[in-house]
């Protein structure tokens, strides 16, 4: 293991508290900590960096206990959301700051700066001042500066938060490439699920100081463990279902076990249907997957490659349940679907959320 948090406790913000928070991040992994603001994700990052002291618990980097070590001695690179470049220094001076502190020779420093500038695609711009750079360039310099002293661990706090959408996507790919090349253990904190999906080897979902879910992007998307994760990552239709005698029902419709996990006991459960798993058809036998009933189309929104369709389910216990479907514009089933028309609704895949006490 490369980064290990054991039972970390720390109160932050107005009421926020991290309580007995534990996390393992593997060597060379790019781990994304995903959460909304106030979830405690940034505090966690600052604790790993040693910038915020913790109340109890331990932090281990590469097996060494660094809990009481000053940030200067932890061998980390930290990238802040607003870049925080030293404005009175050139790009080159910024990047070589850590090496300068370590009294690395001038020649070696210059070599390393050239190398890093190439890595971030900014060769030849070492003499510029931060004020002469675009936001995206400043961000890349901040990354290079954090990597210059070859840290064991790279921590990024909302690194693309202040950039506009297009540049953000470019920089993500850039970061992914750099991280894979250097194989530095990385934790990135963000509130942006697209960013998490695109970058992460694994994602941790954090909310109010608790780690709700952890896994690869596809695991979290397909088989989330909590309602929060299900609706935080992508769009989710959450239906109330019942377990009766080992079988699963939505209303009176029995769901075939082939499309979901085994069921035990009698209780109500949450069932997750992703919009793209929802099927619509004029006749029930045109449905490929499980049928769940009839519905009335309420709204159709054209969104380029796909169309978002809202359907109110009829004939179910919960008559007001509205399902969102996402259908390819090229899908033939979409023909003739306009608000007000009746359709048969089904789905190809569903996931039953594990029951949690709360």
């Amino acid at each position: 293991m490369s980064i290990l948090l054991e039972q970390v406790t720390k109160s932050y913000g107005e009421q926020g508290i991290l309580e007995n928070f534990s996390l393992e991040v593997n060597a060379g992994e790019l781990f994304v900590l995903l959460g909304s603001s106030g979830s405690g994700k940034s505090t966690l990052l600052r604790i790993i960096a040693g910038l915020t002291p913790l109340e109890s618990g331990r932090v281990l980097l590469h097996g060494n206990d660094v809990t009481d070590l000053a940030p200067q001695k932890r061998g980390i690179g930290f990238v802040f959301q607003n870049y925080s470049l030293f404005r009175h220094m050139t790009v080159g001076e910024n990047i070589s700051f850590a090496l300068d502190i370590q009294h690395v020779s001038r020649r070696e420093r210059a070599e390393r700066v050239t190398e890093l500038l190439e890595l971030i695609g900014m060769a030849g711009l070492g003499d510029r001042f931060p004020s002469q750079l675009s936001g995206g360039q400043q961000q890349r310099v901040a990354l290079a500066r954090a990597l210059a002293h070859q840290p064991q661990v790279l921590l990024l706090d909302e690194p693309f938060g202040a950039l506009d959408a297009k540049i953000r996507i470019q920089l993500r790919q850039n970061l992914r490439m750099i991280q894979q090349r250097l194989k530095v253990t990385t934790i990135l904190v963000t509130h942006d699920q697209d960013e998490a999906f695109e970058l992460a080897d694994r994602i941790g979902i954090i909310e109010r100081g608790h780690l709700l879910d952890i896994g690869t992007p596809s695991e979290l998307y397909r088989t989330p463990r909590s309602r929060f994760t299900a609706s935080f990552l992508g769009n989710a239709n959450l239906l109330q279902g019942q377990r009766r005698n080992g079988k699963l029902y939505v209303g009176e419709t029995e769901l075939s076990a082939a499309h979901g996990p085994d069921c035990h006991g009698n209780q109500s459960v949450d069932i997750l249907l992703r919009p793209e798993e929802v099927e619509l058809a004029q006749h029930p036998d045109q449905l490929q997957g499980q049928q769940i009933g009839r519905g009335i189309v309420q709204d159709v929104v054209f969104a380029g490659a796909a169309q978002r369709i809202a359907i109110r389910l009829l004939d179910s216990d919960e008559q007001l349940t509205t399902l969102n479907a996402l259908l390819n514009t090229s899908d033939t089933a979409i023909q003739g679907i306009i608000p007000g028309s009746q359709v048969w609704v089904g789905f190809k895949h569903y996931h039953v959320l594990p029951q949690t006490p709360n």
């Binding site: 960096a49 040693g50 910038l51 000053a70 940030p71 200067q72 001695k73 932890r74 980390i76 690179g77 930290f78 802040f80 607003n82 925080s84 030293f86 404005r87 009175h88 220094m89 700051f97 850590a98 502190i101 370590q102 001042f129 004020s131 002469q132 500066r145 954090a146 210059a148 002293h149």
Partner: protein, 291 residues
Amino acid sequence: MAELSVSTESLKPSVKSGSAVRFQIPYGTWGLRFAALCYLTACVIIPLIVIHVEGFRYGLDVFIQSVTRPAALRAVGLTLWTSALMTVINVIMGTLTAYVLVSYKFPGKAILNTLIDLPFAIPTLVTGVMLVLLYGPQTAIGGFFETQLGIRILFAPPGIVLALLFISYPFVVRTVQPVLMQLDVDQQEVAYTLGASPLRTFRRVILPAIRPAIITGGLLTFARALGEFGSVVIVAGNIPMRTQVASVYIYAQVEAGDMQAASGVSVILLLIAFGITLGVDFLQRRNPTHA
């Protein structure tokens, strides 16, 4: 030139580059502008002109002769070196005070913050009276310094420097403090994560960022101190060639009716003070690293 155009829209306000509204009825605008200029002229421009006209009234030779009298030279010299010494101390202590106020939580902080503004409120003449009471030869502190250490504080340069320090303390603190406050917290922390110790972080990261504010605050403090009168006339006394600073020299010459001597030194003081102000302006405008 919006106000020159005569158009059908002449009764509507026309906007120029989003900054000033101009009406086609110029009387109000011109009246206001005229009143403002009169006020500024009467308060600032006329005094400046009068001093220079009076100073050079009898030609350059007389001017030079009036400012090269030994007493005048001594007075200007004393003013310059005491002000400079005060500025150095004040820049160091003022910056430290601002840094401590911005960076640390400690008991008494609110009191300290209020205390710093007091010199600004207290009349400078009263400052002089206070220092006489504290450091006068008959007082415990003044007596101790004089008899035990052989240092005379009052009616001597140390008293002048103390008075100037007192009245100038708020200026450097209040110039540096806002800059420190808006300084990116993260910059300091980035430096920590890159291995820089707190001292090194201060020297390499914080100090360069606040240096322009420190220099500005210091120079303005110095320019102000050159003309200080109320406190200095009391702590320094009025002994020509020894404790007479420039402003007191001018006062003494006016009292004695020697207008030529007074205006000569006045011109010198003003030239130095305005030179510094221009320098500050220049420093503020020239800066390659900040856009």
